[in-house]
């Protein structure tokens, strides 16, 4: 509890760090915030060629570009917050070594800055909906709990990886590969329905699989997610984030000594 009190008293710091990250990210760039759209958009173009034209992946009757883009914006948010979050302590080593503040503020700032990029990338998603003449239903509001679930999963992951990265920089080398494999194990470029039923239960142990498929269901198919799955995923994510946070706070004590 004292951890949370300390964190709440530093809440303005989270915003300051997020502001710093966003400002610094787009300063001295020509295209500025357009870069937030660039990554998911260019992946969408590439995926459309590779998976729709060449490999002819089934997209459940939905135009493939918007089928994959609806997953890519959320996946990009997840992947960039994991890769930025993992190095958040070491990238701010100068601060961590010299000044006290609850270190998780750096992780939350990374999360916020990734969510803002997501919001910018979502503008293009709305434009694509209009282009394909597709509408949103009330089921779209399920995006909010799904996004909360995604945030919990992200925080649980980066609480562990950032603390480990302080001691072992190896994780920085493993991460790009791990994220690529993770994306392949998540229905970003293909629908969940194409996963064989025999391996489905194993496949669904990946928390991002349910989340990404959920976004597509509620945004493009207009059908609400399975409440049983959502509830159990929430419970698991909450437990995960609590354990990861306690691990992080325990490791935090010696960050300044070893960073």
């Amino acid at each position: 509890m004292s951890y949370l009190n300390d964190l709440i008293s530093h809440r303005h710091l989270i915003l300051s760090f997020a502001q710093r990250d966003i400002r610094a990210k787009y300063k001295q760039t020509i295209f500025g915030v357009a870069w937030a759209v660039f990554q998911p958009f260019s992946l969408m173009v590439a995926f459309t060629f590779v998976f729709s034209r060449f490999a002819q992946v089934d997209s459940e009757g939905i135009p493939y570009p918007i089928f994959t883009y609806s997953a890519l914006i959320f996946w990009t948010c997840f992947a960039s917050s994991v890769s930025q979050g993992t190095i958040a302590m070491t990238a701010n080593a100068n601060l961590v070594r010299k000044i006290y503040f609850p270190r998780e503020t750096l992780l939350l700032a990374v999360m916020i800055s990734a969510l803002i990029d997501l919001a910018i990338a979502a503008v293009v998603f709305v434009a694509m909906l209009l282009y394909y003449g597709m509408g949103l239903t009330w089921a779209s509001l399920w995006v909010i709990p799904l996004l909360v679930l995604q945030i919990l999963v992200t925080l649980a992951v980066i609480c562990v990886t950032s603390a480990v990265h302080v001691h072992f920089r190896d994780i920085g080398h493993v991460l790009p590969l791990a994220l690529l494999l993770w994306m392949l194990a998540t229905p970003v470029a293909y629908p969940l329905s194409s996963v064989p039923a025999s391996t489905r239960s194993l496949y669904m142990l990946n928390p991002m699989a349910g989340v990404i498929e959920g976004y597509r269901q509620v945004l493009l198919h207009g059908s609400p997610p399975d409440p049983g799955y959502l509830a159990s995923a929430f419970a698991a994510a909450l437990l995960g984030v609590i354990l990861a946070y306690l691990f992080f706070k325990r490791a935090e004590r010696t960050f300044a000594d070893v960073i």
Binding site: L13, N94, L95, K98, I99, Y100, R253, V258
Partner: protein, 413 residues
């Protein structure tokens, strides 16, 4: 007023010399192999930066934290500012802590001065409203008004340091930790910083000043905490503790120079210094001289070969060996008597004008053009001076120059 602001209770801090288990495992294996094969225990892989440190600081006190490099001062500051935690023992800090440790650590080069003030303020625990209220004061203090909307990477290092100190000085903590940051910046800015510290002191803030030996900082302290090899060596009033510390530093320096002295600058020198003695006004050998009293320095020498008009130089230095001033026989028109095989000269100091503290003097004999050392005793004599102390705040530095004051009645234009 007797509330405790800071309490350390048996605090110890261990650092590992290597990080990461794979390095440790490798080293442990190597050590084991050494121990078995060579019966050599090897170096331990941990280091105790602090050992069983206990002290209490009351609210409103200003403490000077002194000790040699690596004594553990920075570790104490890191624990106080919660950057790290003790390995053993407990500590309590009552109130918000502000630290002037490496100012500007939180600056980002791509952000403007304005953005950095807000960011740095937030890192140090200030709310946006508080920064808004003090923003103009901070910018004025740092003297960077014209550049406040310029990215920090275009600032000079002096501007960056000033801005960092300005933010830190305005966070209004109950406990302020100051590391030797005051050594940076020009004299005018240093004076500004010292005034800010004095102002905080008047507001009954608790202040911990860290210093190797910095008289300007020490004279603000009410008590001095001396840390040596990770332990509390002494914790007491300024004069007594600082003086004992300085004497130890001097003794260590002297021990080092005893070895130096064994190596003569010129082995086949035609003249050697044999004795250097400090005497008080009554001619008795003395180690302590009162301010304002005369003192005598007697220098004995032997002549071993032909030599043309050598010059004797006596240099006074402070406890750390920093030269304060010197006199030479040439400048004063004094010639050494070379007729016998040996001789002696006497330097009369009338009177001694050093402030209270610990001093040393070096004696050198040069050739007639003062280009070569014929002999040198770098730490010939160490002595104490009893007199006006910097603790009184009436004096600063080491010397009270001979002077008098006069009142001017006629108009000066």
């Amino acid at each position: 007023m007797s509330e405790i602001a800071i309490r350390f209770d048996g605090v110890s801090k261990k650092y590992r010399l290597h990080h990461g288990w794979y390095i440790s495992v490798r080293d442990e294996l190597a050590r084991l192999a050494r121990r078995v094969l060579l019966r050599d225990p090897g170096e331990p892989h941990e280091f105790w930066a602090l050992q069983d440190v206990s002290f209490e600081i009351k609210r409103g006190e200003t403490i000077g934290l002194i000790g040699a490099n690596g004594a553990g001062k920075s570790t104490i500051l890191k624990i106080l500012s919660r950057v790290t935690t003790p390995t053993r023992g407990s500590f309590a800090v009552a109130g918000k802590v502000g630290a002037l440790i490496e100012v500007g650590a939180g600056f980002h080069p791509d952000l403007t001065g304005r953005e950095n003030v807000y960011l740095n303020g937030a890192i140090m625990g200030m709310r946006k409203r508080e920064i808004d209220a003090k923003f103009d004061q901070i910018v004025a203090f740092a003297e960077v008004e014209a550049f406040i909307d310029t990215p920090l990477k275009y600032y000079s290092s002096g501007m960056m340091v000033r801005l960092g100190f300005a933010v830190a000085a305005h966070i209004e903590p109950e406990i302020l930790l100051v590391d030797e940051v005051l050594a940076v910046g020009d004299a005018a800015f240093q004076a500004k910083c010292l005034n800010k510290i004095a102002e905080l002191k008047e507001q009954d803030k608790t202040i911990v000043l860290v210093s190797h030996v910095m008289p300007s900082i020490l004279q603000h302290s009410t008590r001095v905490l001396w840390i040596d090899h990770g332990r509390v060596q002494a914790f007491g009033d300024l004069d007594d503790t600082a003086e004992r510390y300085l004497r130890t530093v001097q003794a260590q320096a002297a021990a080092g120079s005893a070895e130096e002295a064994a190596i003569r600058p010129t082995p086949d020198s035609p003249i050697h210094i044999t004795t250097v003695t400090l005497r008080d006004a009554d001619g008795r050998p003395a180690h302590s001289i009162a301010y304002g009293q005369p003192a005598l320095v007697e220098i004995g020498y032997v002549v071993a070969g032909p030599i043309d008009d050598p010059v004797v130089a006596v240099t006074f230095h402070d406890a750390r060996g920093y030269p304060l001033g010197s006199v030479t026989s040439r400048l004063d028109g004094m010639r050494l008597d070379m007729s016998a095989g040996h001789g002696a000269v006497r330097l009369v100091l009338s009177p001694v004008l050093f402030t209270r503290g610990s001093y040393g003097l070096a004696v050198a004999i040069h050739d007639s053009r003062i280009q070569r050392y014929l002999d040198l005793k770098p730490r010939a004599v160490s002595f104490m001076v009893d007199g006006p102390s910097v603790a009184s705040r009436e004096v600063t530095g080491h010397v009270i120059y001979p002077h008098r004051w006069e009142s001017i009645r006629e108009k000066v234009d």
